[in-house]
Amino acid sequence: MGYSGFRVIREGLRRRTGWTPVWRDPAPQSEYDVVIIGGGGHGLSTAYYLAKEHGITNVAVLEKGYLGGGNVGRNTTIVRANYLLPGNSEFYSHSLKLWEGMEQDLNYNTMMSQRGVLSLVHSDGQRDAFVRRGNMMISQGDDAELLDREGVRALVPLIDFDNPRFPVYGGLLHRRGGTARHDAVAWGYARAADRRGVDLIQNCEVTGIDIEGGAVRGVQTTRGPIRAKKVAIVVAGRSSQVAAMAGMRLPIESHVLQAFVSEGLKPILDTVVSFGMGHFYISQSDKGGLVFGGDLDFYASYAGRGNLPMAEHVMEAAMTLMPAIGKARVLRSWGGIMDMSPDGSPIIDTTDTAGLFLNCGWCYGGFKAVPASGFATAHLIATGQPHAPAARFRLDRFRTGRGLLDEEGTGSQHNLH
């Protein structure tokens, strides 16, 4: 049954007796047309768009833990389309458009809030770089506005504008960017996929990929073997392990990224602020907590928790930018395992095994990509052709050197993104 304001009131009056579980809990069938490994944002959206856009509903999503227990439920929820390079621009642009229609499409409140993303400028050189980026965003059809110092002050008075090391010169404002409730995005896609007939199978770890004569035949799992005509690997930080089951070695290194949240405060920050020079960004959740983070811990890790040096660095950056928030207590910190690619951009592609597809390399930016990545992966699985806005996310770009997508311009090398 659909969700609506009317239903909320009616269920309130009926003492909430009419709510039922949001999705089924089916036992795995012995065979599917498509098996998706990984029930994060990207796996769930892939399943949903397979059903919705291509009418392919004999699909299972296999998740080793619970739906949304991976990075999709650990990120800092920032959604934006402020990329520079052709290849990335059109993809994140498409994604933002899907975000804008998501709640209606899924019939689910994902708390999408276009509160704006403000990237701060602290030098003339940085301003020039942001003017260029802003022009690229506008020519892609997205929005960008250059603010001067007073423009930034009007928006975020909380900043220390006269910090001697990082005086604020202005900022690039992307008004259509913002935040969304991360869990709700996983749940919304899960429910919508389930309603179209997709089997969501939790506590089901894939332990092997069956390949015969160069074509995929199915998977081995902790809940028994499952045959499949097509299989997609959509497991983010665990991509190397699962791809190894198909004999592949990936251009991926797994790193921990941390995030932090403060106690709940009254509203003090109504936009997302990115302080790139300090490797720091912050927003305030609807519950009132300040949600903030910084860089990777910067060494290969699957520990799912962060190290102290980066926690200290993030706190120092916070105090540099917004000294007032030093009075707030930090409530929690956590980490997620990021699938880092050498050039910092993702991979959505076929593999040398017929019927086996790969979606990975999202680095620390794959939440905003959830809708467009699922859309593109479903398109690739259903038609065998890449979806146009994602056509440059090729696996072989590292081997050939053609079409590298090094958004930061630091070089296509593992420890640089």
Binding site: R238, F398, R399, T400
Partner: protein, 87 residues
């Protein structure tokens, strides 16, 4: 995390620059084919468990070391100077 520099002893992680997987010790010959260079530059085992990677003791003695450690637990199992690592 502390890393046991063979010259300086146990030192804080902050003193070290992280280079990445020790696979980069095995540089292919200049005329090697694209696959060999791809494997060297990009492809990684990326193990969830024991790994060997390269660190530079930047704020210490300046040595390059190869550390054996566990990526799941952050337990450090040992370290050696890379000049002693057989090619």
């Amino acid at each position: 995390m502390r890393l046991p520099c063979p010259l300086c002893g146990d030192r804080d992680r902050r003193e070290f620059y992280y280079q990445g997987a020790a696979v980069t010790l095995n540089r292919p010959a200049p005329e090697a084919d694209a696959d060999a260079w791809d494997a060297y530059l990009h492809l990684r085992d990326n193990p969830a468990g024991e790994t060997r990677d390269l660190w530079y003791h930047e704020a210490g003695c300046g040595a390059w070391i190869m550390v054996t450690r566990n990526t799941l637990t952050h337990e450090v199992l040992g370290a050696e100077l890379i000049e002693g690592v057989p090619a």
